[in-house]
Amino acid sequence: MLRITGGKVYDPANGIDGVVKDLCIDDQGLFVPAVEGGRTIDATGMIVFPGGVDVHTHVAGGAINFARAMTPEDHRRTQAFIRTKSRRSGLGGMAPTTFATGYLYAGMGWTTVNEAAVPVLSARHTHEELADIPIVDKASLTLMANNEILLDQLEKGEFERAKQVLAWYLWSAKSYGIKAVNPGGVAAWKYGHDAKQLTSPIDGYSKLTPGVIVTHLARICDELGLPHPVHLHCNNLGAPGNISTTIDTLKHLEGHRAHIAHSQYHAYGGDGWDTMCSETAQLAEYFNAHPSITTDAGAVLFGDTVTITADGPWQHLLYKLTGRKWGNLDVENETGCGIVPYTYRPSNLVNAVQWAAGLELLLLIKNPWQVFLSTDHPNGGCFWRYPEIIELLMRADVRKESLLKLPDGIKGKITLPEIDREYSLYEVAISMSAGPARALGLFQKGNLGLGCDGDVVIYEEDENVRKMFGHPRYVIKGGEIVLEDGEIREAPSGREFIVKPPCDPGIDDFMRPLFEDCYTMSFENYPVEMERIHNPRMQDCIEVPR
């Protein structure tokens, strides 16, 4: 039991904007009107937020683990967590180890994370890694937009069948929702090709186009009532002039819910690297006119990182551009993945445009419930650098100072210098917690209301925004004080959110022959067993209004 008194509370889910009020958390870790006994935290003069929620990150599974293997030089120079009786050792850096991931997220007040890209074939592995990430609660999304069996159904126009196939895969992976990465492009990459036009048939298919995949996945997610809509990484990521592809994709989604991942990477104009510019104004305008679509920024911070994505063809291009290490993983007939270490430099015009574009989207999309803080960790920067972004959003003067470091050639390519907007604390609380929780359909998260999970972060008010958000005074997870005075005190295991969509029992008989024809493991061994999920928490499907 815990009582937090006297703090200035920011709880956007309940419209509370900086009101001094007390919070109480019971033995089940839920907010209640009052408690008897237990500890009291005197938060007088402090700021109280709901625990952070990361809507899009890559912290567990085959891809990030491959990235860890590829970057020992970074592990050697980065933060090291020393083992104690209650805590495991680990390393931070570009691709932190699992235990360190939990400590780093909790260390800045984040209590829920969504691993955004899991192939079904490596779901078993991903769940094992997620179990090794302490403190935070977790969800994971299954990669579906390049799965051959599913694409074959869409090619044949068998929509109902496709819906059942997808539900079967989702439950096999024990995941929380659907991720689509470069629809059709990763399938084409198996043979060295890509899919860049939404209306051109994909290699190996006669009718199926990326546009068809996008529309149908969105519709399936709505009809199954998944709490989180289709989570889409659009075609043509990172390419100059890709704004037309992105707008085209958004038009294919009309009438459905959708979440667009890391939209910074999809908001470029120009027709080559020399002419590449930010087209965030156009993209933001679309979001401003379509309130049912959400996005995360995928903001870029200057410095070293490692890029990992299921977008295999893009990573091959990045390898050719940079000449750095390249890892490629093909996951049978399901998806693929590429890994390339990368350094974002302010002196590089393309990187400078990317840096500005991420911030522009966060500032130009008017409704903070539509655009969330993310760096697409580790692609645009590491998650533990979020406080730097918060500072850039809250302080126009810090932005102005940072703009001075960009090359002169940036003039006319970005709109950031003309933007004066500064985030309020209330807006930050939406962007880092309440907004992503609502978009994920995790109604018990990012919410300090009665009955919700007792996840709280308490900051000491400070002029130095980066310091304030980087070093919370207390972090409370499910009513337990996990961080106090800059030290991790407890490292309880987190839970995993999973969804069981409605599924026709006959689908097993339909899947078996198709599966046995092309997979290299047995049908019975494929679905992840429920007992392998650490602290599972079933989240109900919802009714999505048409």
Partner: protein, 282 residues
Amino acid sequence: MQKSKFLPRGRKDRTMVLVDIRETKSAKAADIFLQVRPGKDFELITILRALIKDRQVSDQAIAETGLTREVIDDLIRRMKGAKFGCVFFGMGLSMTRGKHMNSAALLTLAAEMNAFTKFVAMPMRGHGNVTGADVIMRWQTGYPFGISFSRGYPRYNPGEFSTVDVLVRGDCDAAFIIGADPGATMPQPAIDHLKRIPTIVLDPHVTHTSKLSRVHITTAPQGIAAPGTAYRMDELPMPLKPALKSPYPSDEEVVRRINEAIAKKPFWLPDGSQPQMLNAQV
């Protein structure tokens, strides 16, 4: 072999080329066998890297590999003509003259082949669940093997912290061995040290290492009488479902009980004697 949309005839639609220093049993399964001269792997790979980019290579350089220009040209034609090429490589490459240089050259060749067609490379791992150990070490510590925890956090240096090096130098004063038989494979100085120190072995069988150990704990064999997970070479986890019952505990149970017993003892580093985190390693 699996059939697929693009390879409807399964094995018949695939071409397998075996490169080895002698005609092994695998040659029978291959469509083409190329016998390379021992110790000339690096040279052959480098010649392939040059020729795929139409660079000039002398006849003498080719002759040194033990292959002819005709054979190499045919190989390149097949590689470039493939829809999806995959190179599998094993210890014959990584543990002979050149070692990691050979692997690096081969990985570069595979990457460079992507200028022409889709190409990948994948290491063939040793027996048992080597890949699984590797995968888990990576997510827990960032490194696959050769890790030292002596400073309370993971550090990596193959050649210094690898098992064989630690044993040969006599750095450790106890050894705990699971699912491996170093007594059968490691050099004599390493084995001698294992004999000197308390060595504990967990194994379903009596091994060379058990014979020189102080303690052998018999455990149930994974996948036969104990459940678990084994990672395939391509890092996909396969569940192990036991078919039999065993009177012996699983490796996992033994390790868990040892951990529980250790947890009751005072921690080796007094609380507060170490910082929680180092911002920069030394």
